[in-house]
Amino acid sequence: MTFEPAQLSLSVAGSSSGIERVCESFETFSSAHALPDDVRRSIQVVLDELLSNTVRCGKVGERPLTIEVGFRLEPDALRVEILDDGTPFNPLEREAPDTTLPLEQRPVGGLGVMLVRNLVDQITYDFEEGRNRVLLRKRLET
């Protein structure tokens, strides 16, 4: 049996409209391949967390950021690759926030990276040729 992977990749500016374009493209990709709702929603959240962080924190001096995103559908999983030329940032390095604090002590912020780590099944990170590369894998059934 041969398997032709469904793929999509795009390159956008590191800005809110760039993020929007990625989200819309992924929405289209999800419908075209009838991805399960939980997978689609999880990946949308993951994209928002990672891309908005890069846009907010990743800028190095005056140079505009470029973000590349690739989706690839395999028989049992969706793979997502995110590349950016911003400041080096390893999402695996960051310590998880305390999610058991009572309301009064809860910081307003700091949850994004933790959500990403919990919403996918696998993450790898490397910094190569001046770019951050995050690879994500999300299983299609549980």
Binding site: I19, R41, D48, L103, V108, L115
Partner: protein, 117 residues
Amino acid sequence: MNLSDERRGDVLIVRPEGRIDTNTSEELERWLMSRIDGSLKRLVVDMSGIDYISSAGLRVLLMTVKKLRGSGGQLVLGGLNPSVRQIFELAGFLSIFAVEADVDRAVAKLTGAAAGA
């Protein structure tokens, strides 16, 4: 994002629709903040129209409940889909928010009445 609201007695029900992410959360924030003044005591957020929520949205809800409780008010959420509920769970938000299955139960919780059908 589509935003609407409804009054049932002294309960204000707000209903955002679509996704709550970095782009849309600012709109939601402004909208919620404009509705929470010192006199509002009972707020329900009907989440049944929300497809997904990212941490930017959690932040807005956290600010809302903090502000509301600061002035003696209460917030109950209703109608979370399984994905939204999972995000709440991961973030530890189920222990700081009152969450009901649907909007009728959320209103009932605030008014002390029995839940609607």
